[in-house]
Amino acid sequence: MTPRPFRTVLTASACFCAVACGQTLDAGATRPHGLLPVDERNPVVLMNDGWSDNWAGEYAVLLANGGGPKLAGIVVNAAGTWSDLDENVTGWRALVAAARESGLSGIPDPIASISDKLVRPASGVIEDTLPNRSEGALFILRVSSELSRPYRPLVVATGGRLTDVADAYLIEPALAERIVVVSSLGELSQSGAAMGVPNGEMDPWADAIVSARLRYVQVNAYYDQLTEVPASRLGELPSNALGAFIAAKQPQVYDLDVAADQVAVLAAGFPAFVTAVTRVSGDGSVSPGATEGPELTASREGPAWLVTEGASALAVGHFWELLLDRRTYAR
């Protein structure tokens, strides 16, 4: 027979257990610093084609050294106007070299990714699509496995077509839990936004895959990117390799708002830039032979985010602040 005191202890313990076993103590949570699900704390992979038509690369390397997101990779592909992969990669390497020579740290070498646009299968089912297994796709899979956390996914900030991102999903669908795609792509429309020009027209089926299967932020807050480095301010550029690179590039930057791919980098890494966001949803399908991706329709419960307005003046001010701050080059 069990001694009485022992039984008492057991009973008391069981009572405690009944009310307390398996208790969960919630110590808090992180919240995005802006209107989007990601902010300057999320690591970023920059994906683009051309190097000279906008300031996406310059923003990425400056933010990485000025309180912005860690730059986890630069994936360079080729499509449309920027169909020469060698030329594209050469330009990006020059930016990386200038940044490093100036004292910026954490700037990775660009990775060349060879891929054709994805082909919509006859079934129209996304998962039936044949993946390219491109270098860019495999890189995204690897880096997202290393750096992504459930509370802080990897951002893939794109300024070109979405082929490599969609390709990565096709190789490993679990990628959907590890990344958020933030794209300078398409334009606003009456019902929400179109996944067309710029960048969306180059692989409509990839647009459909990304908008249907991945966490997707479309940034259409384009602005006049000639305000970044007007000729009148060339003399203010820092006298280092990066300043020289920017000065040499300045005449090549497109006088075209929708070419401002840096809006994707800003939306992800400089939360103050994003001033208006709408939730949208896409139907996830495009017809055979489509020339642009699916329409994104405004929807309160939509799974995707559409950035409709941005604080460009604030962004430009921050650009110069980082560019001229000596601490930027001493990290």
């Binding site: 313990s13 110590a27 949570a29």
Partner: protein
């Protein structure tokens, strides 16, 4: 006055001891090995043996006896001081008695000690007979007061050190309160090895000790790789029931209390409280420090009955393991 206290002690010892206690007649008489150390000016070993033998009515000292008693007389700044200490068959100290310092007459002191020693030998003999199922001697029946310990006003500490629990002749059934404090390193109760401080008090008698305590941990921190994390602190009440043998104790141990958690490095930190319930075992070993004090190294193994899980961003970042432990040391005093 030391002299007055000595005289009182002698009187009480004479009352307590049988006037002419007979040697145990059954089987072998109780014997003890004597080790006597005293200045040359004091009575000899033989004198002491004689005092004891006269009082008992037989010679109790044998070198091959399993029990030993050390009788020591040492000079002090104010005179001389006497003390004897009982050693069990395993060599552990199981009881001692001090005689007040300040005496200058060594002969009187040794005589007093001899009488007190005779009383204790008689009590031991009686105890041995009783435990062997033998009837008490006539002396015991005639002198019930002999079952009582010698007077305590002579700094008596005939009861074993409370930590030992194992009663020597004397007041083994006496309740001995004690208090103390301790420090320990806790493992498995926090994300890191965590310092614990505690205070405790309780009572000891014979082979049993009951103890209540309270303990507090420092704040231990767990961190994610993004710098987000949490701090945790434990505040526990403890209850221990111990069985003691000589200086060692084995205890059933229960702890109940609060787990205080606070988020750090996250945008919306929270500070929830939880309940900790632990059951386990503790082993300790009490080493006497002077007349009243003790120091006790200890080790515990505890099962967490309610394994709490700490979350950040709704994701588990740490869970209390099923089993924890602590290793530390206590110090305390026993009120005799």
């Amino acid at each position: 006055m030391p002299t007055a206290r000595l005289r009182l002690l002698v009187c009480l010892a004479c009352i307590a001891a049988p006037a002419q206690a007979e040697a145990p007649t059954e089987a072998q008489p109780f014997t003890v090995a004597l080790e006597y150390t005293a200045p040359a000016t004091c009575p000899s070993d033989g004198d002491l043996r004689s005092v004891v033998a006269r009082r008992l009515g037989y010679e109790p000292f044998r070198e091959d006896a399993s029990e030993r008693v050390l009788v020591i007389v040492i000079p002090t700044a104010s005179g001389i001081e006497g003390r004897f200490q009982w050693l069990g068959s395993t060599g552990h100290a199981s009881g001692e008695q001090s005689f007040p310092a300040g005496q200058r007459d060594c002969a009187e002191l040794v005589r007093t000690m001899g009488l007190a020693l005779a009383v204790q030998i008689h009590l031991l003999a009686t105890e041995t007979e009783t435990s062997a199922g033998l009837p008490p001697t006539a002396g015991d029946a005639a002198s019930p007061t002999a079952a009582k310990p010698p007077p305590s006003n002579a700094s008596s500490s005939l009861a074993p050190a409370p930590a030992e629990g194992a009663a020597r002749p004397s007041n083994s059934a006496k309740l001995l309160p004690f208090v103390g404090a301790g420090v320990a390193a806790g493992l498995g109760v926090a994300p890191t090895v965590v310092p614990l401080v505690r205070v405790f008090g309780g009572v000891a008698w014979s082979h049993v000790t009951l103890e209540l305590g309270g303990e507090l941990s420092t704040r231990s921190v767990g961190e994610r790789d993004d710098g987000g994390g949490f701090a945790q602190q434990l505040m526990l009440a403890s209850f221990a029931g111990c069985g003691t043998y000589a200086r060692a104790s084995a205890c059933a141990l229960a702890k109940v209390g609060a787990v205080r958690v606070s988020g750090r490095g996250v945008d919306e930190p929270r500070s929830p409280d939880g309940v900790a319930v632990e059951l386990g075992l503790r082993l300790d070993y009490r080493q006497p420090l002077g007349a009243w004090g003790f120091v006790a190294p200890k080790a515990s193994v505890l099962g967490n009955l309610n394994r709490w899980t700490i979350t950040l961003d709704d994701l588990s970042v740490w869970q209390a393991p099923a089993v924890g432990a602590d290793v530390g040391v206590d110090v305390g005093v026993v009120f005799q």
